[in-house]
Symmetry: C2
Subunit: 124 residues, 2 copies
């Protein structure tokens, strides 16, 4: 089983690398056959090539992600939240995502499902 | 599709009714064929009889649950956190759970997966 401290540290690094735009760093956190569903309800993207394409997509904004609240780890699964702050040329937008991940015993992410909610105020 | 405000209010009522021990109230939030996985990784319990048995189990403690942080809603799915405070005869224990739920269009819960983590400090 993956170690709880390791799993929480991967959550931190994932959010930090999202902010830094470190796509290769993010992809390296995942197992080869990992899949993501972001946001939940959309088609899954599976495998490192699909993940690389997803994480390297330029959305024209530079959001700052910050992990908030406790990460909840059960076995090889985790759920955690992070705030997303976006500066749209002077207009500040904030939102929250909860992400859930599964890990393999080597500590690599095997799946990720994201619940990004534009109406979820991280300061509420 | 279920309404965002409704979904968030169900999260609140779920946590309040857990604290109150209102098992029938909790079961009434679910669709007839709903299933739960609590904690994640354990066998699913499906149908109202199984849910009633699960929520009415007396664990010999009276935890106080309080929803914390933003609830993240995407379509008919939600992820939210709540703190769990337990008074063990003068010894205070605190932990956090993240729960994810899916809803049907009528606003009933169709599934719930729980990530309760005894090491997740809600005050950290």
């Amino acid at each position: 089983m993956a170690d709880r401290t390791h799993i929480v540290s991967v959550c931190d690094r994932y959010v930090e690398m999202l902010t830094a735009g470190d796509h290769e760093g993010i992809v390296a956190l995942f197992a080869d056959d990992a899949w993501i569903e972001d946001p939940v309800g959309t088609p899954r993207k599976e495998g490192k090539d699909a993940l690389r394409a997803f994480y390297s997509t330029d959305h024209g904004v530079t959001p700052v992600m910050t992990r908030i609240g406790p990460a909840c780890v059960v076995g090889n699964e985790v759920a955690f939240q992070f705030r997303i702050d976006i500066d749209l040329g002077g207009t500040a937008i904030k939102m929250t995502s909860t992400d859930v991940m599964t890990f393999d015993d080597a500590g690599l992410i095997t799946s990720m499902r994201a619940y990004p909610d534009g109406e979820a105020d991280p300061d509420a």
